[in-house]
């Protein structure tokens, strides 16, 4: 599954960058996040409780932040699994100035397997979009 999109924050780039990579903020903004711990620099372990269509479940996973180019871009690798299946993905996130606002552009690819893929496929695109938007909206609240 391909992921691509843009979200505009009403804040300066540095501020957005700081918030985006703040562990506490991340933990509170990630939908369904029950736990997020930094186990090594830029490496996190997380537990997410997510429901896609009728498939609800808990996923334990790892998040790694790579290729950090402060305030302009980074790459994120996510790997998680739980009873309903597994997720593996990566995305590049870049930040661009838009006057006094900042655009976040993300693009990546996710591989979803197991039960979620086999019965929730039609919902996946929509649910993912919804969750990304939830995440950024929550983020925006933290910034303001």
């Amino acid at each position: 599954m391909k992921l691509e999109g843009k979200y505009t924050f009403k804040a300066a780039r540095q501020k957005v960058w700081d918030v985006l990579l703040d562990q506490k903020v991340l933990a509170s903004c990630l939908p369904g996040c029950e736990r997020l711990e930094e186990v090594a620099p830029d490496q996190f372990e997380a537990r997410l409780k997510i429901g896609v269509a009728s498939v609800k479940g808990t996923y334990d996973g790892k998040v790694r932040i790579l290729e950090k180019h402060p305030i302009s871009s980074y790459r994120m690798e996510v790997e998680g699994s739980g009873a309903p299946g597994f997720v593996k993905g990566e995305a590049t996130i870049s930040l661009e100035d838009k006057g006094d606002k900042t655009d976040i552009l993300y693009s990546g690819e996710a591989q979803i397997g197991g039960l979620v893929a086999s019965i929730g496929q039609r919902m996946l695109g929509g649910v993912t979009k919804l969750m990304v938007n939830q995440f950024f909206k929550a983020m925006e609240k933290k910034i303001q």
């Binding site: 009873a83 597994f86 593996k88 397997g113 197991g114 039960l115 893929a117 086999s118 019965i119 039609r122």
Partner: protein
């Protein structure tokens, strides 16, 4: 008109008698595996792979085992200790077990089984098992799996993804190619993977007897009972230590349930490990993900033709996708149609270059039409292409190449012996019923007004009652000639009839029905033979390998009831009748040959007032056995194990009579395509069948309609789709589009009757029927609709999005 069950005056065979099993089935009084109760019965749930291809680094089931109510967790390691890999029909050293051992090869493959006091606990415990997987790259396309050197190899010890490869050459295609005016090619054809959707999924309950070291398994397994010795080999027991019991009712099968045997094996192992009786009832998702399906197939076909439309020869290259492991009876999908590879046509030169391939998809096996829908999709698309390339009408080119009516029994180049038929008459009837010429005129008018209307024609020789020898065509003639090799040949079935002391008949036939109405048909046949009312004929369907007389070919598959099952039970009834007449002869003071039966009486031919009730004869046979005429055994019973003399092993040129009767199907379809949505609407569907003698026309028509809709489903709706990473995308009826009454087109059915000279009643199988023609006729009709736009139809299912995409692509090129 439906008949009542008390009449006896006229023959029952040939009448649309109401199904005697329906009152039971429609009021919820059927008895299925899940109705089985055993003391201390425990339930199993299966943990399945979420990966298409991965190494299993470890399984931690400690949390699951600690859950109250769980009595055991069975892993691949134990399965490999307590069973051998299943015997295969190929030489490739594939090690296939009922549960993954070390590696998973498709999404849904069993990885562990939890046995618990109830299913809830078992399912919850499955969620607690942690499996450490190392994902590996996957391959899904069968052609790529063979031809692409970068494709991952599923079975390292096999060394390639080819489970079986054979080149079969009949006649001389080089000569045909040299004599041809034109070579016609289909291009790359893709037939989809789809299955069946029986109301009841797989079910198995198993018990282990440690004293006798024996297993008893209850399952909705419907044969072939060849799987009994196959399972004995896997479980390491002799045949007397494995008992199969099939309950009276099975909720649909369509071939799919012959592949329940790995789960029967798995439950047997679970019962042994836990020391408890264990039951597993498959749920719908499991059924779609990992029960069984037909193969998806990539094929390339070519024909050598003369300018007048005569087909001289055909060459096919086939890649058949059997999924992660080649599971017995595969690669039978490639060989089931050996005798009828050339279909309804007269050409004598044929070359089949065929691969059975393993990829990271779920496993395949018999699915209604087995091997024939794939074959005829290719062959009938090829015949259409011949017509296109020569500027001929598609019906005309078929009529030109059909086997003529006077040629039966006709031996095909690949060894099939077509018993009877009148193919031209059948095709002409289908064309007449569809008002073909008028339909073409309507098409011209529709096209003129910008509509997309297409007409398809397709034919099929419909094989029934397979000769198990065909599977050995997978071996080379040299392999079959090796010392100690036991040739496989036969297609027998057992029928038993007895008359009880009250004069009523009890019949048994080992065709383990799944809803086809065998009880009704057997009642009709035996009532006729014994001169009884069908209400006086009882048919026992439950099956038990310890108490029945059976053989390994027994079961319900390859539409074998109306051919071999009916022949066996009719012969048994005739033997009983013979004895009835012998007992009656001295009572009526005539010779047995002067007697006949009617209205439950034996009467003297020509003077029916001189008669004796069958009840009286039965009374003598049971109550007064010592006083029976000399030489007669007590009781009134007979058993017949019917076989066909043509069911011989393949010869040194790979020719085999792969089925024992061959029906015929001719179809005409009209479709209209909505250019805005790409949706295909079936406007007209005519199907003409020759199934020999019709035992019960209502049941035959039910089979035809069901088969037609099943085939239409594969052509337009159903697909076991995977994404590029091998994830299964159709695990519910939201995505696996099983057609409903709303999608069912009106179907006009016609019959031509050419009784088979090889069966007792002249009847042939009809259970698979239009499943093998519908995909071809739908594809041909859509192709005809899209031809003016220069769009070729090379794959199924033709879903609206696919059709729409093809239309858009042509639009972009400025054609449409």
């Amino acid at each position: 008109m439906a008949a009542t069950t008390t009449e006896t005056a006229q023959r029952w065979v040939g009448r649309s008698v109401k199904r005697v099993e329906d009152p039971r089935l429609l009021t919820g009084r059927g008895t299925y595996v899940d109705d089985l109760h055993l003391a201390n019965l425990h339930q199993a749930a299966i943990l399945r792979s979420p990966h298409a291809h991965a190494r299993i680094r470890g399984i931690d089931a400690s949390k699951a085992e600690a859950l109250p109510g769980v009595v055991g967790v069975v892993r691949g390691k134990q399965v490999a200790e307590l069973s051998e890999a299943f015997p295969l029909g190929v030489a490739a050293p594939v090690r296939y077990y009922s549960c993954a051992v070390g590696k998973v090869l498709f999404v849904g493959e069993p990885v562990a089984v939890v046995v618990a006091k109830d299913r809830y606990t078992a399912e919850d415990a499955c969620d607690l098992i942690e499996v450490d997987y190392e994902p590996l790259p996957c391959v899904l396309d069968p052609e790529k799996a063979v031809e692409d050197p970068t494709a991952p190899i599923l079975h390292e010890n096999v060394g390639s993804n080819v489970a079986n490869h054979r080149v079969l050459h009949y006649g001389d295609t080089d000569k045909a190619w040299a004599e041809a005016d034109l070579i016609v090619k289909t291009g790359r054809l893709v037939f989809p993977k789809y299955g069946s959707t029986p109301v009841e999924g797989y079910a198995a309950a198993a018990q282990w007897d440690p004293l006798n070291q024996a297993y008893t398994i209850w399952s909705n397994f419907h044969g072939p009972f060849i799987m009994h010795p196959v399972m004995c080999r896997a479980l390491g027991v002799t045949e007397d230590r494995l008992r199969f019991i099939v309950p009276p009712d099975i909720g649909g099968g369509f071939g799919i349930k012959s592949s329940v045997y790995p789960y029967m094996t798995l439950m047997a192992i679970c019962a042994r490990v836990t020391g408890l009786p264990v039951k597993w009832i498959e749920d719908r998702r499991e059924h779609l993900v990992a029960s069984s399906s037909g193969t998806d197939r990539v094929s390339y076909l070519e024909a050598a033709v003369k300018k007048d439309g005569t087909i001289l020869g055909v060459r096919m290259k086939i890649y058949d996708n059997c999924g992660g492991y080649i599971r017995t009876p595969e690669p039978a999908c490639l060989y089931r149609a050996t005798g009828n590879y050339s279909g309804a046509y007269l050409f004598q030169n044929l070359k089949m270059d065929q691969y059975a391939v393993m990829t990271n998809k779920s496993l395949t096996g018999p699915n209604r039409g087995y091997g024939c829908q794939q074959l005829y999709f290719g062959l009938e698309r090829l015949v259409d292409q011949v017509a296109y390339d020569l500027g001929m009408d598609v019906a005309e080119v078929r009529l030109k190449n059909l086997i003529p009516a006077g040629a039966f029994p006709y031996t095909t180049p690949s060894g099939g012996i077509y018993d009877s038929g009148d193919y031209s008459k059948s095709v002409r009837l289908a064309l007449d019923m569809a008002k073909y010429d008028e339909l073409r005129k309507r098409q011209t008018a529709a096209r003129a007004s910008g509509k997309l209307y297409g007409i398809g024609v397709a034919t099929a020789v419909d094989p029934s009652v397979t000769n198990m020898a065909y599977i050995t065509v997978a071996w080379t003639p040299e392999e079959r000639a090796r010392k100690g090799y036991l040739p496989k040949a036969g297609s027998s079935e057992t029928g038993s009839v007895r008359i009880d002391p009250s004069g009523k008949a009890f019949c048994m036939v080992n065709t383990t029905p799944e809803g086809q109405g065998h009880e009704t048909a057997v009642s009709q046949i035996v009532a006729d033979e014994l001169g009884m009312a069908i209400g006086d004929v009882h048919v026992i369907t439950e099956f038990d390998t310890f108490t029945r007389t059976w053989s390994i070919t027994s079961g319900s598959y390859s539409s074998r009831f109306a051919s071999v099952g009916a022949s066996a039970v009719a012969t048994a009834a005739r033997r009983v009748k013979e004895k009835v007449l012998k007992i009656a002869a001295p009572m009526l003071e005539v010779n047995p040959q002067d007697l006949d039966v009617r209205d439950s009486k034996v009467f003297v031919k020509g003077s029916p007032e001189r008669s004796v009730p069958i009840r009286r004869i039965a009374g003598q046979a049971h109550w007064s056995a010592t006083l029976l005429p000399e030489g007669l055994e007590p009781g009134l019973q007979a058993t017949c194990m019917f076989n066909f003399p043509n069911a011989k092993p393949p010869d040194e040129k790979d020719r085999v009579d792969s089925s024992q009767t061959y029906g015929f199907i001719a179809e005409v379809m009209g479709v209209e395509i909505d250019p805005a949505t790409g949706e295909v609407r079936i406007d007209k569907y005519v199907t003409v069948h020759d199934v020999g003698t019709l035992i019960n026309p209502m049941i035959v028509e039910g089979q035809v309609m069901g088969g037609a809709l099943h085939g239409v489903a594969g052509a337009l709706y159903e697909e076991m789709a995977y994404d590029e990473s091998g994830q299964f995308l159709a695990a519910s009826f939201m995505d696996y589009l099983c057609p409903t009454a709303m999608e069912a087109p009106p179907i006009e059915i016609g019959h031509v009757v050419s009784p088979s000279p090889f069966t007792v009643l002249g009847s042939k199988g009809c259970g698979e029927s239009s499943t093998m023609t519908a995909p071809a006729v739908v594809a041909n009709a859509i192709a005809d609709a899209l031809r003016p736009l220069n769009i070729a139809v090379r794959e199924l299912p033709m879903t609206p999005n696919k059709v729409w995409k093809l239309l858009q692509e042509q639009k972009a090129k400025g054609v449409a």
